[in-house]
Symmetry: D3
């Protein structure tokens, strides 16, 4: 079996840091400084600088914005929908982030495997039910879905947030699967302690 050191990060070319446009290199170096390593999604998408910029701008607009969803809840949406889309990178990388944000070493594996059986509140399960519908059957979303969420205390802006996260990571899942984006070894054990 293969480990990171010898494994390919992407089936597409990955530029060297020094070849990247300044803004991209600087963003990556900032992440590296904070995390101690460069998450491979940055390297893989740097092959396409304009898409890189749009991707992370979209990511930040959904994941960093203020709102009623906690940061852990946003990661729950990512992990549950990415598991359904069988996206190795997103499940493993965002699983790590979820463990850290939720301060719960068990939650990511539970949500990835079957969120209905996870240690979640009913409100959180309703949130993921809706995210899964957006991810898998958005054409059938309608008033009844909004009513269920409002019954759990979500407002219209929260619902847009849930939908946006599910939709954006659907894009991310597809690009990760097509590029064979490899999760960094570091993610697997993060937040388990």
């Amino acid at each position: 079996m293969t480990r990171m050191s010898e494994a390919r990060v992407s089936r597409f070319p990955v530029p060297k840091l020094e070849e990247m446009p300044d803004d991209i290199r600087e963003r990556i170096e900032a992440v590296q400084e904070k995390s101690g390593f460069i998450p491979n999604v940055f390297l893989v998408l740097a092959h396409r600088p304009d898409e890189f910029r749009a991707f992370f701008a979209y990511h930040d607009a959904l994941m960093e914005k203020p709102g009623n969803l906690t940061k852990a809840e946003r990661e729950m949406i990512v992990v549950a929908t990415s598991a359904r889309n069988e996206c190795q990178y997103c499940v493993i990388a965002h699983g790590a982030i979820l463990r850290i944000r939720a301060k719960n070493p068990l939650i990511a594996d539970q949500v990835a495997t079957n969120y209905r059986k996870a240690d979640l509140t009913d409100r959180q399960k309703a949130m993921i039910d809706f995210a899964m519908k957006v991810s898998q059957n958005a054409q059938a979303v309608g008033d009844a879905d909004f009513d269920v969420l409002k019954g759990h205390g979500f407002d219209e802006e929260d619902i847009w947030d849930i939908a946006g996260i599910a939709a954006f990571f659907g894009l991310s899942n597809r690009m990760a699967n097509v590029t064979t984006m490899r999760p960094n070894d570091e993610f697997y054990a993060m937040g388990r302690g």
Copy 2:
């Protein structure tokens, strides 16, 4: 039945032009000047300025970039995958653009209904086969899919482009379905000639 004048463009609030940030209003005014009307996707997404900016940056990075796919071919991918995702806005708006780009008044309805029976080359059908797999079953994409496309003369960068368009419009389709984004009346007859 309802017509545009009285119909809602989105189930979420739609800001007035004069309330929008300058860069967004200016982009919209430029589109309006060129098209003669404001496509509703601009109004619907303006509710979230940061997502608006990232969305159109991503759109342009894929749809306006140079490359081997013609502009008509990119629109074929949009129409076929959006039809499978039952996205009214994208099928009707991009169907219009496809008719214009391909200078063919029949092609959009053919591709939307069953691209396998459309007036396309074998190369174009292979392109859409792959786009549909990315859209519906990206987890199973692998070397064999790349080999088929290369057999039709696509290179690795073209394959990224196809995947990117299918993935990005998957996001767009989900947001359009959740917001009940309404296609402008103008699109239906455009390019029918």
Copy 3:
């Protein structure tokens, strides 16, 4: 790309008018006189005269009979179920008829793409919900479905009509897909305004 003049109407042999049995030729000439062209379904099925006669007798028994469903509503059922079955001929030809019957240039494209988001009454959406269940999952139809329709004012005979139309066009969709039945160019722009 190919236009009608050079395109094949069917992958099976298509008889010449003068070779057809009298009753079939006369029916076709009557349609041609009324419409100004011969819809290809008549030519394609004329390859099998006995099936032709049964097909159009069945068609007329459902589409021309008196009843509570308007002619436009019957065409809505055809367009929605045929879109789900990806039948190019039926969506494009009956889309044209729907636009004319409903005197609405937008309705066919809306219903074909996602009838849940179309400019329809709740009663019409319930009608199509049921037609889609008959089309895709008739084995699970039961009392609860009948109750929903009765709650919208449909009676048992109307329900038979809805089911009959969905079932008959399921046959038509399959034959059109197997024969690669080509919609006439004339249908695409009919009734658009």
Copy 4:
């Protein structure tokens, strides 16, 4: 549990023989004389005389016509596709006919449950593979399917026959499920001896 004598034949009204139009009553009486009982499909559809006439004309055009498919093979198509559509009437009634036509008391139950494991020739399995594709996924039928069948000795007219039978019984399956058409008790044991 209920037996025929007390069981309803249809959830819709069933006319008495003496109330039926002459041509329909005569056809039914002829069947009764030949079979010793009236198969319920005749009674159920007699509620709609025009549809009755078209239905049986279509049936006879496909099932009684000359051609390379044996009568037993046509019934195999009916049983396999009707089982997939979970149509009790068609599986049980045509299962009886298949046993008789094939002079094989085992074949109907085998084909209904899993035709891939039935006592069939490879040619017959290819015939049913195609019939199942027409029944479940006709939109994807294309040249490659025709080539497989031709490799087993079927010609284009045979392929139309297979498709026609699968498509027609798809209609029949849906009407039987919506009407809750009950198979006659007599069918269950026929041809088992």
Copy 5:
């Protein structure tokens, strides 16, 4: 077509009675004495003695145990779920047992084809609804399913029994399909009289 005498019972080797371990041979001889023939499942699984012993111990633990489900009801679960899994052996063999246990020559074919239309009580249909969910979508089973069953008078132990039978025969269906386990000719006509 092939009959039993010349047909293979399994695609794997089938041991002779005299080669089998004593306990297995004795169990088989006891069945043969009672039934008049050796059901093929015993011969096919005897290829793997340890799995044979565990399989029949599990079978007996579920099918012979006391409890509120009648023996006929347990067989209904087997037939309905095995039909959905397209398992020829289980549908045909347990169909025979169901006819005998229920003293009803019609019930097995009804349940195998579409249990929703079978001569069953509402309680029995609810039982099979749940068994089908366990068989096809167990990951979504939750409190609401338990509540429905309790509303029909089932207790928690009955629910375990239903789930256990559906789950165990899911195993059996898969092994029968992989081994091409052939139902004995004797089963087809049993209990029809």
Copy 6:
């Protein structure tokens, strides 16, 4: 969120060790001594002693038997098929065992999420492809599947083993989902170091 100490192990009653039959209690105590804790599957199934005995006899017959599949490979089959069945207990408990058996801290999360992208040999991927087909679509298994596996060096007995493991854990997945069997906290971090 809930942790083990306060969380229920099963929605069904769980007997105390001292209430269990001797053979079951002894097996559990032996596991506890070896592992340092009692895996919950033992406690949950002890509610039904006869099923417990059959379950573990079957488990051992497949997982402990000699054969060409390594112990790690058997666990790969368990993890991949259980992930598809969304079985939290099996993915998390057998994921731990897989990490230990394969001496690879990354492999379980990779296989659970998308085995096609995992650090596996082509032979192992073919093994899991087949296991997934047995798990999800066993009715379509046929000679072509056997040929693919033989091309990778598997023999008929290996194929039975793969099928048996996929089929047995399909049973296990269903019972775990119905009982809401909770994975022990200990499993999550095992073998990650």
